[in-house]
């Protein structure tokens, strides 16, 4: 039954790799059913009408024309369907994704600071606390403006730019901000898009459920390098992720052990 209504194959959406993504696709597909229905219906009527009432076949027009209320019913129907999709899916789903965040303990939490033209991720490290970020202390040596003498920051992990790792099947919470202009963090395969706006720190969440290597796109014009502002997003098995994290912590050298 369901697969008949499933347009994914025809719409050619990118590979799906997150839990809530299913619902995004579902909404897209339902709306397209509405559109297709209206389109087919009207287009058939349309061609029939211009064929049937062409001048050569119908030399004398009818002053009154159609005496039907069908149109009213169609309009009401459209309104109803839109209402259903709105109340049934769009509103509650949005509420869920922006109001109901998983607790930080059950999830992988990271900060992403966008800048022209790259993505910088940062993990809280062993203490699960981020260092203080204050752009007033930004400098060429400290591009992300993390306050040097903040104990919480000592064990934070900073992978190379453009690189993000998360474990599979565990909620991810990303705090997004930007140094300079507005960027937009878009992960097609996760069905996630969120603007990174300077002066704001906006959280976004999703649960990757498919191991793989995906692409972050910048979805907001941000200057000459916009088209090249991609990022590598790795969804690892929990083992691989643990390994990766461990070596990152080690590579931090002493600073990680200072606070043991």
């Amino acid at each position: 039954m369901n697969q008949y209504f499933d347009l994914t194959r025809y719409l050619q959406l990118p590979v799906l790799a997150s839990e809530h993504g299913r619902k995004v696709d579902a909404l897209i597909i339902f709306v397209h059913w509405l559109m297709i229905a209206l389109f087919i219906g009207w287009i058939i009527y349309f061609f029939y009408a211009i064929y049937r009432f062409r001048k050569s076949r119908n030399p004398k027009a009818d002053y009154v024309g159609a005496k039907t209320h069908a149109s009213t019913y169609i309009e009401v129907a459209v309104a109803l369907v839109e209402g259903v999709l709105l109340l049934g899916m769009a509103i509650p789903l949005w509420a869920k994704s922006v109001d109901k965040f998983p607790s930080e303990k059950e999830s992988t939490v990271l900060r992403v600071t966008a800048e022209q033209f790259t993505w910088n991720s940062r993990y809280p490290g062993a203490d699960n606390k981020f260092g203080k970020q204050d752009f007033r202390s930004a400098s060429s040596t400290n591009p992300l403006g993390y306050v040097a003498d903040d104990p919480n920051g000592k064990d934070d992990i900073e992978p190379p730019a453009k690189e993000i790792h998360v474990p599979v099947n565990r909620p991810v919470i990303i705090y997004l901000t930007s140094k300079d202009v507005i960027h937009s963090f878009q992960l097609d395969n996760m069905r996630v898009t969120q603007d990174a706006i300077p002066g704001m720190r906006i959280p976004t969440q999703f649960t990757p459920n498919r191991v793989g290597h995906y692409r972050i796109q910048c979805a907001q014009l941000c200057g000459s390098g916009h088209s090249g502002m991609f990022g590598e997003f790795f969804v690892d098995t929990s083992e691989d992720y643990a390994k990766w994290q461990a070596e990152k912590l080690k590579s931090k050298g002493t600073s990680a052990t200072v606070f043991e």
Binding site: M35, E82, M89, W94, E115, S140, G199, A219
Partner: protein, 626 residues
């Protein structure tokens, strides 16, 4: 104005008078005659349309063949714009061509949007057709404020020139998208954005003057008996459009002033605290908000899109009624839907901002209003569709364009729905799906309606017809290529290809995924569509040649009209001499009936002009103006 009240006594001999006493300049350049101004607007806007299209054709080259030398005009661009179009060297180090830099691509993109919207469609659909047709259709001698009308055109030209000049200043034209989001728009060191803002202030002023004039004209100068429900739908569309411009543009003007302050007086209206420029905290007071700009921009932005479509719908309505030879079905619902659209369009704007971190309450509000506003559009289209039923349809060029408008707008409008739901916009936002959505509305939608308007009213303006044959060639080719251009963009968008990508998405070209063979990024197939689209776009340009030639050739050589009312239409503009003299109507017309009285049973012809006296004695609802 001079010759509008000084010579009330010999108003009769007026047009000769105009001929003899007005020199070329007074008659064609500094004219206060709404018809001349309308034509000035039309020509200027068409040229801008073509210019905006040309920018896009160059961009399409870059999208199809990223980083390859631009054919034909490459060196020209290099000479005009310098390093914005840098040389491409081969291994031997000699120049093999000139390519488009990322900055140039962004500048062209921003200016394509700006020019098409503010210098192309609005002046053509609203100012040109409005000026030429509205006073004629309501039986007025001219606009209420002829000199303000002229001033409005002049502001428009000044704004346009400023925009054009900005291409040639150091650093080039504005490159932050037609939406000019801060901080990007503000931080850029070049003056292109400053020019853009100043240009916009002029264009906005022009539109405001125009809007005041239109509304006042429609309220004050309706001929006796022309009460509201007897107005042709086109006039209604222009009326609502004028209100949209009047009330939605000023906030953008305010925003433009503030962004201008940010650029020249180094204020921080749209710049937050703690902005980092070249690894240093920016030397600004901070405390501003980037979102404020977006709100003010889209408060105009959304009404603006209805400014782009309503006049088109008006034209379509006129032409359909005329060529089905029957009244429009549901005239009243058309009018009320239009008013509803106008009203609602002020409270949906933030559907362009779903992903700026919007909480549940706000997005609920805005997506609800967005869905509500789609209903009146559905009603309008439905009325047009049903109007076909029972007609005696003539397939001349204007009608062909209008008929194809219906499904084209339909597609564009319907694809607005998945964007209107925030949860699906989550995926579709900023993809080519959005581009395809609105281009279906403005290009094969609005532009087709405007073509129809040109073919339809051309005889009234010049006294000659444009060639039907070449008109049909123009139509079929345009229809074909428009769809070849924009249909694939839906596909690309669904596949996750983003807009505003300088390299056409090459950066995201799909790669085999080490973990589990899944392809990440955009599969090559969807990138290859770019080539196809671009070729279609260039072909579309060729398809315009018959039109351009037809347009100019027919002025002198076109088939003469056999009467003042060649289409056998009912509305007042066809009840004047052709072309209408200065002052339009020899005697003030008197209106007895609704706009679309075609095929009235028992009437000897199949059309009954609005001003044809009833068999019964006419009852004049108003005294004639003195």
């Amino acid at each position: 104005m001079q010759h509008t009240h000084d010579d009330k006594h010999h108003a009769h001999a007026h047009d000769e008078h105009a001929h003899h006493e007005l020199g070329f300049w007074a008659k064609y350049v500094f004219s206060t005659d709404h018809k001349v101004i309308g034509i000035q607007y039309a020509i200027t806007a068409l040229i801008f349309l073509f210019f905006g299209f040309s920018l896009m054709m160059l961009m399409r080259w870059q999208l199809a063949y990223p980083g390859q030398g631009i054919p034909f005009v490459g060196s020209l661009l290099h000479n005009l714009l310098g390093d914005a179009a840098p040389a491409k060297l081969n291994d031997a180090g000699q120049v093999v061509g000139y390519i488009m830099s990322a900055d140039l691509y962004n500048a062209f993109g921003a200016m394509h949007g700006t020019i098409m919207v503010f210098l192309g469609i609005v002046p053509l659909a609203f100012a040109a057709f409005g000026n030429f047709v509205v006073p004629l259709q309501i039986g007025a001698p001219d606009m209420t404020f002829p000199r303000i009308n002229m001033a409005s055109y002049q502001c428009f030209v000044v704004g346009g020139v400023i925009m054009l000049v900005s291409f040639f200043i150091p650093g080039g034209a504005a490159a932050a998208g037609w939406t000019s989001y801060s901080p990007l728009a503000t931080l850029g060191s070049s003056h292109g954005q400053t020019f853009w803002l100043i240009g916009m202030v002029f264009l906005i002023t022009s539109s405001l003057l125009g809007a005041v004039n239109f509304i006042a004209t429609i309220i004050q100068l309706r001929a006796p008996g022309m009460n509201w429900m007897r107005l042709p739908f086109f006039v209604w569309a222009q009326f609502v459009t004028a209100f949209l411009l009047l009330l939605a543009f000023p906030p953008l003007e305010a925003a433009a002033v503030m962004q201008l302050m940010d650029k020249v007086a180094h204020t921080s209206f749209f710049l937050p605290t703690g902005l980092v420029v070249s690894q240093q905290i920016a030397n600004i007071s901070g405390g501003g908000s980037p979102l404020l700009w977006q709100h003010l921009f889209w408060f105009l932005g959304h009404p603006e899109v209805y400014v782009l479509i309503l006049p088109a719908m008006g034209i379509v309505c006129e032409v359909i009624a005329n060529n089905t030879r029957k009244p429009i079905w549901g005239y009243k619902s058309l009018v009320y839907s239009t008013l509803a659209i106008g009203f609602l369009s002020f409270i949906v704007w933030a559907h362009h901002m779903y992903l700026t971190g919007m909480g549940t309450k706000i997005s609920t509000f805005f997506q609800t209003t967005t869905m509500i506003i789609s209903i009146p559009s559905v009603i309008i289209l439905t009325c047009f569709f049903i109007s076909l039923w029972g007609g005696s349809i003539r397939f001349n060029t204007p009608m062909l364009f209008c008929l194809s408008f219906l499904p084209m707008f339909g597609i564009g409008g319907l694809t607005g729905l998945p964007l209107g739901f925030n949860y699906s916009d989550l995926f579709l936002h900023d993809t080519y799906y959005v581009i395809a959505h609105f281009h279906y509305i403005v290009a094969p939608g609005t532009i087709f309606a405007l073509f129809a308007g040109i073919y339809y009213w051309y005889p009234k303006a010049t006294g000659r017809h444009m060639s039907e044959f070449w008109g049909k060639v123009h139509f079929w080719l345009s229809l074909l290529f428009m769809n070849l251009i924009f249909q694939p963009m839906f596909v690309q968008g669904m596949a996750g290809l983003n807009r505003r990508l300088y390299d056409g998405g090459a950066t995201y070209a799909g790669v085999a995924n080490p973990a589990g063979g899944v392809v990440v990024g955009v599969p090559q197939f969807f990138l290859d569509l770019n080539k196809m689209i671009s070729h279609a776009a260039w072909a579309l340009a060729l398809a315009q040649i018959p039109f351009i030639i037809n347009f100019f050739w027919s002025i002198k050589k076109g088939r003469k009209v056999d009467s003042d009312n060649p289409w056998q239409a009912t509305t007042l503009e066809w009840q004047t001499p052709t072309p209408p003299p200065h002052g339009n109507f020899p005697v003030v017309p008197n209106v007895y009936r609704g706009p679309y009285e075609y095929s009235v049973p028992g009437h000897d012809t199949d059309f009954t002009p609005q001003n044809e006296p009833d068999r019964v004695a006419p009852k004049i609802t108003q005294p004639l103006p003195k």
